[in-house]
């Protein structure tokens, strides 16, 4: 696994060839870095996102805010709808499968989506097992709330990780919590000795080889994005300053007053996340943000971040 790792370019030349290799899957995520991936529900929204400078779009039937409002079982989107979005834009198209629903993933791969999000925003299809992602040619991104969860997903073949946050709330507090937890986990490993790393692997419930790799490199072996509750340019810039390598925005754009302008503003704030003057400039006159939900008032059953094992 280490040999095919694109994030450690000082390693010797790999020998893997063909499609669906670790390097091709993880390398795809490397190309998205510094960018914004936007949830879209129609071809028209996908075009607005591409025009605003999105690096990819996430095709889904309902944005998380609507899934929350309408309730019921949230599933993979209609193939017709996904195809219409693939046809509408030239940037990569991602789509969501339910946690553990490997047949939804097979369908999405057959449709030609560029990345699958095995997502807690949809209703889980399996309460114990995630999809074995190494079985697929298409790469997967998975959510994580802490380092152990991230490494379990990577062991299953995830080629990209996003902090979960609490999708559909417009409230960045959970994304902050998860980004800080991931960062703290990585920093902690760097201070442990060889003996302690065995204990750390046990406590993290993660494979020992991945734990050692993180301890040595000081970063995840795959690209880390953030997601869940990002609604403003300043939210995006804050997540980048906390160590995210890019941003997913779900309901935050198309549930706001002026989606095209807000989308472009979040893209610019993500590139210039460390320049407050730029973030200030793009934050002006954006109109109404999405309304938002106070996460602490959400009952446990309505918290998506607790889905995934």
């Amino acid at each position: 696994m280490t040999q095919n790792d694109p994030s450690t370019p000082d390693l010797p030349t790999g020998t893997g060839t063909g499609t669906g290799t670790d390097r091709v899957k993880r390398g795809m995520a490397e190309q998205l870095k510094g960018g914004v991936i936007m949830d879209v529900v129609t071809a028209e929204q996908a075009r607005i996102a591409e025009d605003a400078g999105a690096v990819a779009v996430m095709a889904l039937e309902r944005v998380p805010a609507d899934i929350r409002a309408q309730g019921g079982i949230a599933r993979m989107s209609d193939p017709d709808m996904i195809e219409s979005i693939i046809d509408a834009v030239s940037i990569p198209v991602m789509a969501k499968a339910r946690i553990g629903h490997f047949v939804e993933a097979q369908v999405l791969q057959a449709l030609g989506v560029d990345y699958i999000d095995e997502s807690e925003v949809l209703t889980p299809a399996d309460e114990a097992h995630h999809i074995v992602k190494t079985d697929f040619t298409v790469p997967f991104v998975c959510g994580a709330t802490d380092l152990g969860e991230a490494l379990r997903r990577i062991a299953e073949g995830a080629a990209m990780i996003r902090s979960k946050g609490e999708a559909g709330t417009g409230n960045v507090v959970e994304a902050t919590r998860h980004m800080r937890a991931l960062r703290r986990g990585i920093l902690t490993l760097g201070n442990l000795d060889e003996t302690e790393l065995f204990v750390a692997a046990k406590e993290l419930r993660a494979p020992h080889d991945l734990v050692v790799e993180v301890a040595l490199t000081g970063k995840l072996p795959v690209v880390l994005f953030t997601a869940g509750g990002i609604a403003t340019p300043a939210d995006a810039a804050m997540m980048m300053q906390l160590g995210a390598e890019g941003v997913f925005v779900g309901s935050g754009i198309f549930k706001s007053g002026d989606p095209a302008q807000r989308a472009a503003a979040i893209v610019q704030a993500t590139t210039f996340f460390d320049d407050p003057a730029v973030v200030a400039k793009v934050s002006r006159g954006l109109g109404e943000p999405m309304v938002g939900i106070n996460v602490s008032t959400l009952p446990e059953s309505e918290r998506y971040a607790t889905r995934g094992w």
């Binding site: 370019p9 000082d10 020998t15 190309q31 510094g34 025009d51």
Partner: protein, 222 residues
């Protein structure tokens, strides 16, 4: 000799990997996001990423004009994947309003190999890179469909459905690859570009730029 300073366009994409590969190739590597930062570099790398995003950000932040002026004015540049698209004069399968920096007299087809499930890695022989073929990673990659008279083909895909497609080119001070040498840990392609920048710096210093094209470095015409 002091190391040449090479900037990596850092609007979006795999900037970090290019910085690492350039340092391994003997350059001092810095990021470039603003026109003032562009003025301070001896060469430029346009990284892999999403070319539509990069072009829009360059336009919105007033960098597209300075980039075009710099490349037209002789700034050496290397582009991988999206970077190849950014350096191309003409692009197929792109949104109608997609802008590029240009400079390379080529027609590039975006996402030419297919979608992500078609992304692959293989070996490619690259002219000017010693030590055998380079391991080439193609990710939703473009290829070069047509080259103008001044463009040298450095590498082609061998075998498979895309057999013979042009995936590495050079025109004077501009180099581009469809694939991502920055993802492999092999810095030979970057070292070739750093060598090109060094040669141009030496030439420009000794002749104030007047001797372009008449070199003692063999076939390298700058």
């Amino acid at each position: 000799m002091t190391a040449p300073v090479i900037g990596v366009l850092a609007l979006q994409g795999d900037v970090r990997e290019h910085l690492v590969a350039l340092r391994a190739g003997g350059a001092e590597a810095v990021t470039v996001r603003r026109p003032a930062e562009l003025a301070d570099v001896d060469g430029l790398v346009v990284p892999g990423g999403e070319s539509t995003t990069m072009a829009k950000l360059a336009d919105r932040f007033g960098l597209l004009g300075p980039l075009r002026d710099a490349v037209r004015g002789g700034l050496p540049a290397f582009g991988s994947c999206a970077g190849m698209i950014m350096l191309a004069d003409r692009v197929l399968d792109a949104p109608a309003d997609q802008q590029t920096v240009g400079g390379l007299d080529v027609v590039v087809r975006r996402n030419a190999f297919g979608r992500q499930v078609d992304s692959f890695e293989t070996e490619v022989e690259v002219e000017g890179v010693p030590g055998g073929p380079v391991h080439a990673v193609f990710i939703r990659a473009p290829w070069v469909e047509e080259v103008g008279p001044g463009v040298e083909v450095l590498g082609r895909v061998v075998g498979g459905p895309a057999d013979g497609k042009i995936v590495a080119v050079r025109q004077g001070r501009l180099v581009a690859t469809s694939f991502h040498p920055e993802l492999t840990g092999d810095s030979r392609v970057h070292a070739m570009f750093v060598g090109l920048v060094r040669a141009i710096l030496a030439r420009d210093l000794s002749s104030d730029g007047a001797g372009v094209g008449a070199g003692s470095e063999g076939r390298v015409s700058l």
